[in-house]
């Protein structure tokens, strides 16, 4: 039995260690401390998968129903998988990228790490909200202080304003649920939620949509995304796209799918429509992008829209597909952004026009780049395919016309292949390129192996989330 509390304890110890290290000038490499913490957490996670998890519940302020409860629900495991592993792979990128104020950065990194994992194991909504906000605030700092020198602060502010709106909307959802079920505890709400009057469920759905559409993001509340993703350091962008956006997915699944399905049932055609609109619109917008990082940022939205469609269809297949796609997308987009960061450090900018012909001098990077792009395109055998299939299957059974979303996928093929062609293929445009080193290859291998694993054995992820309606 693995105690869930250890997911919080380990990073906490790490933070203390970092603070001690700085104040007492121990001269230990901050990355090593963080690495140990993450390795430990990974071990705990897999140990828990094997042996089972044990939750905890302490009443803190019973008068307002705030209790420190941790537990695993049917949705937790796939999300925990990505939250535990990806920051580990990301650590090497952070090591190369972050050079000043390392202690503070890694403290924020550990806070984000712990918060993200804890959101998925919180059994009390106030606790969940605390961790949610902690993750958001840490990312605000990361974007503002370690991001692009000129645009970092403005983008960080923009990010914060939008994300705060989504957090406030989430707060409204939590409070509405509380008002009508009398409790903040997930146990009680899951049981009582179906008795909430339908009108209130609609209101809850409205606020939930505000939260989700900002967080994931979806059109038209995506305005914060391009600048924030672009200005953030690569580490920040990966955290944003791989993990923070999945907070929105988790909220939508947990609250929407499990607690207020009645409201979604009436609205699902509209919701699927919103998702399809995003897919088609963003596919076109992405085609116009000449900046590689922006290209991947926009294209990431398409998969979030697919996840949204899958959940909105309220079918088991759709939800399963959404979860598989969530896990798969996290790994793939992490690879893509990390590689983009490496490309920037080689060519000095994210503009595709400044790159070209890298295949000749950087074979390892090219292999992973092509692999990741093929994966994100949905090539079968790699993880995105099964997710896309189940999502569209679920959507089709509700709204046959949903298949026009595939037109967006066709459009996306064009810019993905153009990206490969303009970056990897062709004549070499500059001299002095180094290929990616051993550690980075290892990092990519780790992420790719998950992509292949989930692609070949999607049942692993689907069985993790059994218990869905």
């Amino acid at each position: 039995m693995i105690y869930l509390l250890s997911f919080l304890l380990l990073p906490f110890i790490g933070i203390i260690a970092l603070m001690v290290n700085t104040f007492l000038k121990c001269r230990m490499r901050e990355e090593k401390i963080v690495g140990v913490v993450i390795a430990g957490t990974v071990a705990i996670f897999f140990g828990g998968l094997a042996l089972g998890f044990k939750g905890i519940s302490i009443d803190l302020v019973s008068k307002i129903g705030f209790s420190f409860s941790l537990g695993i629900n049917s949705l937790s495991l796939p999300f925990m998988l990505i939250a535990v592993i990806i920051p580990g792979a990301l650590l090497y990128t952070a090591y190369k990228e972050i050079k000043d104020n390392k202690a503070f950065f890694y403290i924020l990194y550990l806070i984000t790490y712990a918060s993200l994992i804890s959101v998925f194991i919180s059994y009390n909504f106030i606790l969940l909200f605390i961790f949610w906000e902690a993750a958001v605030l840490s990312l605000f700092f990361i974007i503002s202080f370690w991001g692009d020198k000129d645009t970092g602060r403005a983008s960080g502010m923009k990010f914060l304003v939008f994300t705060q709106l989504s957090s406030l909307a989430l707060l409204a959802v939590i409070l509405l649920l509380f008002s009508y079920t009398g409790s903040f505890s997930l146990y009680s709400i899951l049981q009582l939620a179906s008795s909430i009057p339908l009108l209130i469920q609609y209101v809850i759905l409205f606020f939930l949509l505000v939260t989700v559409m900002i967080k994931m993001p979806l059109f038209p509340l995506h305005a914060w995304m391009p600048d924030s993703y672009l200005s953030a350091p690569t580490t920040g962008t990966v955290l944003l796209s791989s993990l923070l956006s999945k907070l929105g997915v988790y909220a939508f699944l947990l609250i929407g799918f499990e607690m207020i399905p009645a409201a979604i049932l009436h609205a699902r055609i509209i919701l699927i429509g919103i998702g399809l609109l995003t897919v088609l619109y963003i596919a076109v917008v992405a085609t116009s992008q000449r900046n590689l990082k922006k290209l991947f940022s926009y294209s990431s939205m398409i998969y979030m829209a697919m996840i949204f469609i899958g959940i909105s269809s309220l079918t088991t297949a759709g939800a399963d597909g959404a979860i598989v796609l969530t896990v798969s997308h996290s790994f793939i987009i992490a690879m893509l952004f990390i590689l983009t960061g490496t490309l920037k450090s080689r060519s000095g900018s994210y503009e595709i026009s400044s790159m070209g012909g890298y295949g000749a001098k950087m074979p390892a990077l090219s292999v992973f780049f092509v692999f990741a792009v093929l994966a994100v395109m949905g090539v079968p055998g790699l993880s995105n395919f099964v997710g896309e299939f189940l999502v569209f299957f679920g959507a089709y059974s509700v709204l046959p016309i949903a298949l026009i979303g595939l037109i967006g996928v066709i459009i996306s093929t064009n810019y993905y292949l153009s990206a490969i062609k303009n970056v990897i293929f062709g004549r070499l445009s500059r001299a002095g390129l180094r290929d990616i080193g051993k550690l980075e290859t290892l990092q990519m291998l780790l992420l790719s192996s998950f992509v292949v694993l989930v692609g070949v054995l999607p049942n692993l992820i689907i069985s993790m989330s059994r218990g869905l309606i």
Binding site: V284, G357, V379, P380, N459
Partner: protein, 582 residues
């Protein structure tokens, strides 16, 4: 159980081996793998002849349905597996000669993965699994066409190929979903048996989507241009993928799902598209000077023959022609490739001027080009007989015309590029000599197989006046080519036709597609800028508030009397509100 997926495994292992082993061993890994696959397929074919069975393994479970990886071993599938592994083996052997100076590991790994996928495709019983392999062969084709990615042309050709075929792939994807939703099963046999219960909309939708899939994969009009550009890839790739196997997958799917298309009433549409494609291909092939591109056009035409045959409810004819085509087309590509390595060019006119003696390549070339034309006594003559078995009168008339043009352009290539003289003999390298000879033999004598082919799939053949006429037309075409291109007579009469062909290719379909592509990108640019404006709207809002704040600084001006005035103002407001609400 019986484990027919063992046929696939050797190629997967070969791919892994090709990556991990040292450079020189990659070739051996691939060849051994395909030999084993061939052996296994033949073994299964003979051992389980007329004893079909299914094999399945669970893949994942969702929504109350179990998705499984299932293979079917029937005469047809095992035959196809044998054919694929046979041709693959020959191609890989040939690659030893052709690709000697190229990066070995990447090549053999990608080829092995391709063969793995193709074998999986022909043996799939689940439509989803079929799709999985269908898309995989497309991806492998992309990687292989763009093998020499440092050059612009192959890179562009690979990208174009994948984009075009992906349109078909995603249509296929949609069709799978539609069919699965209606039939509640993914097995091809299950879907076919439930066609009757499909509602009309689903039937037409899925048939149309599958149609788009097959015409994109098999390079029919209007998707044919990718195949011609795909010739930028290495010649063995062209031999394997773009003549014998991958493009034939479209025809194979057509044959498998034939009842679906027929009940949707698509037969005449397929036949029309087929003939249109054939004419376009033939005319364009007439004007082309690059040997591989001529072969590409002939492939497109041959595929359309398969389509037409299938659409006339003659699945056997289609498959037998597929088999024949695989043999002679790969033969021709080997010859072309050998010619390139030995003589240095693919341009038929350059070959004409620089080559004194085509050597031992001459006879196999003759066999090959005659096979395109469908001349007796070669195997393809019998194949033509078989595939035209169900033709209506109109079809047969068109076919006669086609036979003429086909023979014309194929023999044009032959007579221009190949010649026999007393000049010094050509070197015979084993890796090229053996496959060429083997295939020539089959193409020469294989016609007799037609009579036994019914065992594999029900085959008919029909000798009637039209088959005779088309045979004569073919001979006429060959003779015309001889006169025109070898003896250079009748030029003036033909120049008109030639100009027509040139005009057709200039107003080429390709440029329409390029124009469409450019238009789309400009549209995308507009939308992209729209999005930027939309995003800056929010910045505008926050700037607005900021300026509001700056302006309001004036209110708090430090003057007490203003403050007191404000208090009274507030008092008034409160009273007003109070009065309003009481």
């Amino acid at each position: 159980m019986n484990m027919i997926y063992f046929i696939l495994i050797p190629m997967l292992l070969a791919a892994l081996a090709a990556v991990l082993l040292p450079e020189r061993r990659a070739f051996h890994a691939a060849v051994i793998g395909s030999a084993v696959s061939l052996g296994l397929s033949l073994f299964f074919l003979f051992d389980y002849f007329n004893k079909p069975f299914l094999e399945s393994v669970n893949w994942f479970v969702s929504g109350g349905f179990t998705f499984s990886i299932s293979f079917s071993a029937s005469n047809l599938t095992l035959f196809m597996a044998s054919l694929v592994s046979f041709i693959s083996l020959l191609v890989l052997v040939f690659s030893n000669f052709y690709m000697k100076k190229e990066p070995q590991r990447r090549y053999y790994a990608e080829m092995s993965l391709f063969v793995f996928s193709m074998l999986g495709l022909v043996m799939s019983n689940s439509l989803l699994l079929f799709y999985v392999f269908w898309e995989l062969i497309g991806v492998m084709s992309y990687l292989l066409i763009g093998f020499w990615y440092q050059r612009e042309a192959p890179a562009a050709a690979g990208k174009k190929a994948l984009i075009f075929t992906r349109i078909g792939d995603l249509s296929f994807f949609a069709a799978v979903i539609i069919l699965f939703s209606s039939a509640k099963t993914l097995s091809i046999t299950g879907i076919l048996s439930s066609i009757g219960s499909l509602n009309h909309g689903a039937l037409i939708a899925s048939a149309s989507l599958l149609f788009i899939a097959i015409i994109s994969k098999s390079a029919q009009f209007p998707f044919y241009t990718w195949l011609v550009d795909a010739m930028e890839g290495p010649t063995p790739v062209s031999a394997l993928l773009h003549s014998a196997t991958m493009v034939a997958a479209g025809a194979y799917l057509l044959v498998l799902m034939l009842p679906l298309f027929l009940s949707a009433g698509f037969a005449s549409m397929i036949i029309t598209f087929g003939f249109v494609t054939a004419f376009i291909a033939a005319l364009l092939g007439l004007k082309e000077t690059h040997l591989k591109r001529i072969l590409a056009y002939s492939t497109i035409e041959s595929l359309s023959f398969m389509f037409i045959a299938a659409a006339t409810a003659n699945a056997g004819g289609a498959i037998f022609y597929l088999f024949t085509h695989a043999i002679f087309k790969s033969l021709l590509f080997f010859i072309a490739g050998a010619g390139f390595i030995l003589f240095g060019s693919y341009d038929i006119y350059k070959l004409k001027s620089s080559v004194k003696n085509s050597g031992w390549l001459y006879v196999p070339a003759l066999i090959g080009f005659a096979s395109i034309a469908g001349l007796p006594p070669f195997m393809s003559f019998f194949a033509h007989l078989s595939l035209s078995a169900n033709f209506t009168t109109l079809d047969s008339v068109v076919f006669v015309l086609l036979s003429f043009i086909t023979a014309l352009f194929s023999f044009r290539a032959f007579f221009v590029a190949f010649k026999k003289s007393a000049a010094p003999r050509l070197k015979r390298e084993l890796s090229v000599y053996v496959p060429v000879l083997l295939l020539s033999a089959i193409a020469l004598f294989g016609g007799v197989i037609m009579f036994y082919f019914t065992g594999i799939i029900h085959t008919v053949y029909y000798v009637d006046i039209f088959s005779m006429v088309s045979m004569l037309a073919a001979f006429a075409g060959a003779y015309t080519a001889f006169e025109l291109f070898l003896n250079r007579r009748l030029l003036r009469q033909v120049s008109a036709a030639k100009n027509a062909a040139i005009k057709l290719s200039e107003r080429s379909f390709d440029s329409i597609i390029t124009a469409f592509g450019i238009a789309f990108v400009s549209f995308a640019d507009i939308v992209g800028r729209l999005d930027e404006k939309f995003i800056s709207l929010f910045s505008w809002i926050s700037n607005y508030f900021m300026s509001l704040g700056l302006a309001s600084k004036e209110i708090q001006n430090g003057d007490s009397s203003t403050y007191i005035a404000a208090i009274f103002l507030g008092l008034v407001i409160v009273i007003i509100i109070a009065v309003m609400f009481v």
